[in-house]
Subunit: 462 residues, 2 copies
């Protein structure tokens, strides 16, 4: 055996050290977030595109999207700015901008998804689910249905055992399907559809638009409470928590010819205590107010009666052949993320955000004699195992001064756009202010409200 | 300066060579398909998940999906098998299986997307488009609308200049929106809705289900051709190419009180010559029959009249608040891929597949005296700049023998499931056979047809 002695040569030593450092660099880059990138092939391009668009700097006041508006020059996505912001990086704030507190766009949840970027992204392959049907010949993803049942069990906000679950393109579509399904099959008279004031205008608008021979909107449920004609078929919408005032409403009508649609869109810890799991014959939920993905158009109903379920299924089939498989894939990924770990992270985020917002708003309005807010007593919550305050999605503001009959106008003059009471078939002394939009929107609302209230005689905002 | 001499030591030499080889490996792995993986971070997990599921071996007779059925033991996705195949890897063919030629599931296009995997994948971030609206406060992606206009220009199959474009959850939803929009606003009598036999059953089923006071299904348009009451509002569906028989139908009714909905779902080079760009007041298209993504539920209409467009927009808003943003993102990516290069690749694929299938089918049926196919004369095609044969999506088979009044049953006994003529309000001497399902389905259909025809006296199948 020949022994060779080593004398270190700087040139080859440098090569070796450089090579090892390069390898360390690749190893660190390749092992990212618990995953090895080593084997990525056909997804790389899509992944790189998504990351490039996400990396566009929009000052925290906007976003760029893969399918978003593009620069006419280079065809590259540009920032889409939040209300009151503009400029190529959304850094320019419009002075004297009006606070948008009109619609229920649930943007308050977006930061949760930014924080859970790696877990909540999903890749849709070009060949993902071309077919009209899932393997069981339905339009309903069994795995997504399973997740929804688990979700309700984790939150404890609805009974799903021995119930059917049907999907719709938003609770909007589910609500119409429910009305069709609950209408009498063999009656010459249309069912009367009612809701108790104040109620969400969509109910009336949908029923009037579809203009069916089988149902007719008959207005305020209060007016039908003591009617003696119990042979008339009635369908009552009960929104609980209510939109606009956040109350845990109960049905006003009962009887053998009364069917009730429970709109449970807001029945999540973000907005309300959960005294008990909802246990009604037809309960409607939406992804919009749970995860914030209003744009996805995904809702569902938990249905007790098989005939009602089948009739709703027929409606979804004829209306749109069910819900998009792309939407169902997305909902599957979002709910999987939400239910990771103890499954409570999304609810903690939602509740703490809404609680803080409600407290900020309440503390200002409490100083005012001109405006008042809805008051709802705290209740025991089985999700948090304690008595807790409500943290509603909307402030149902009342203008208390006699001359302030048009409360929308009063607020508009103070640079706040709310939604007038008449939109809920209520008096115009009321205005609904949305508390669930982005932080930018909420901060501007608070700023204008502060000024408005501080301008009242005798009010001192600390 | 100290000169050092080098004597190569095998141990360190091996280290250097190994390290350099590892460097080369990382470099090759990192530069994939024209993209550098170096900077992938939050998308890596989703990308790896998607690739893992896609890599599941299903023998070419099935697929696994991210949101697909899972193994109850380990919770991992399993293969979902094509008709007539089963087993954990879909390799087991069911002997004597019945060929599925019933529905119009456009699976024939799936291989195109497998071939374009890298271009057609899209990553939906957790924060992708939570909002109810696009920046212009509509439910319609302007960039997707732009792509659709470009698509029609490339194919030359529809005029879109000075027209509005509206989206729906499948052409199913667009068709209903059209009927609502074309119904008379101020008339005590409902509009009569008709279609010419044979026609697609959905038209009648939708109108009957919605049961509106504004429109009523009145059956076969042929019956209304010479009616003298021209004051009655009529809405005619004209499907062109027609479902089930592939003909380029023309409207039967005309007059000041007649409105026409042109269902142009099949007006693509896959199925028909394109003699000229369609130029009607209301033309309906669907992604299902263009790219094959029936499960995505995406359709659109090209609309001339602003009032009609606005009424359709109202319908979409009240029905489902527009089409899912997830679906619009997906459609955006798929159409971007389809229009890459000269934008003709998808159509070549579709046309050549359907041409081959139609020729195989025709060559068998041409030997038969028992069965006949629809005959449509070739026409000049502006897309291919030549006279070409039709390559319809469906065979409209007629049972010619006097005793074969139930053609569905004749074929069912030969292990072929078609769709009976009565489903199209036609005689049961006719059966529609779907030619657009997967290659597995089509091959089995051909096999059974071969046998059926070869069993006829005097027939010899080469």
């Amino acid at each position: 055996m020949v022994k060779t002695s080593f004398k270190f040569n700087s040139k080859y030593g440098v090569c070796l050290v450089s090579s090892v450092i390069l390898n360390l660099f690749f190893v660190l880059n390749t092992y990212v977030g618990g995953n090895w990138n080593l084997n990525l092939s056909w997804t790389s391009r899509a992944a790189a595109e998504a990351e490039a668009v996400a990396a566009l700097f929009c000052s925290g006041h906007g976003r760029a999207y893969l399918d978003g508006l593009v620069d006419d020059g280079n065809g590259e996505p540009v920032c889409e700015c939040n209300s009151c912001y503009s400029g190529s990086d959304c850094s320019h704030f419009t002075p004297d901008c009006i606070a948008n507190a009109n619609d229920g766009d649930p943007l308050f949840l977006e930061p949760f998804w930014s924080q859970h970027a790696a877990n909540s992204a999903v890749v849709a392959a070009g060949w993902h689910r071309l077919s009209y049907s899932y393997p069981d010949d339905t339009n309903i993803s069994k795995e997504l249905e399973r997740l929804i049942r688990k979700l309700h069990a984790v939150v404890g906000n609805a009974v799903t055992e021995n119930r059917y679950i049907i999907f719709g393109a938003g609770s909007s579509q589910v609500l119409t399907a429910a009305v069709y399904a609950l209408s009498p099959e063999n009656s010459s008279l249309p069912a009367g559809v009612v809701a108790s004031v104040p109620y969400y205008a969509l109910y009336r608008k949908q029923v009037e638009h579809f203009n069916s021979q089988k149902f007719k909107f008959e207005g305020d449920a209060h007016q039908w409470m003591n009617k003696s004609d119990s042979s008339k078929y009635m369908i009552e919408y009960v929104t609980t928590p209510n939109n606009p005032d956040g109350r845990l409403n109960k049905p006003l009508l009962q009887g053998p010819n009364v069917n009730t649609i429970y709109d449970r869109a807001y029945y999540w810890p973000h907005f309300t205590p959960i005294p008990a799991p909802a246990d009604e014959d037809l309960m409607v939920f939406t992804l919009s107010k749970l995860t914030g993905h209003a744009g996805s158009r995904f809702g569902w109903a938990v249905v007790k009666d098989e005939t009602v379920f089948n009739r709703m299924t027929d409606h979804m089939g004829l209306n749109s052949m069910g819900v998009s498989r792309d939407t169902q894939l997305r909902a599957f990924k979002l709910l999987t993320t939400a239910l990771k770990g103890d499954g409570r992270g999304l609810f903690h985020f939602g509740y703490h955000t809404m609680k803080t917002r409600w407290e900020r708003l309440s503390s200002i309005i409490s100083l005012s004699k001109r405006f008042s807010l809805q008051k709802i007593n705290p209740q025991y919550c089985t999700f948090y195992n304690k008595v807790r305050e409500f943290s509603p999605a909307y402030a149902w503001v009342k203008c208390e001064r006699e001359e302030d009959t048009d409360c929308y106008k009063v607020l508009q003059e103070a640079k706040i756009t709310g939604r007038a009471g008449n939109a809920f078939s209520a008096e115009d002394r009321y205005v609904r202010l949305s508390l669930i939009r982005s932080q930018d929107d909420f901060d501007l609302l608070i700023e204008h409200l502060n000024k408005l209230v501080s301008d009242e005689d005798g009010v001192k905002i600390m």
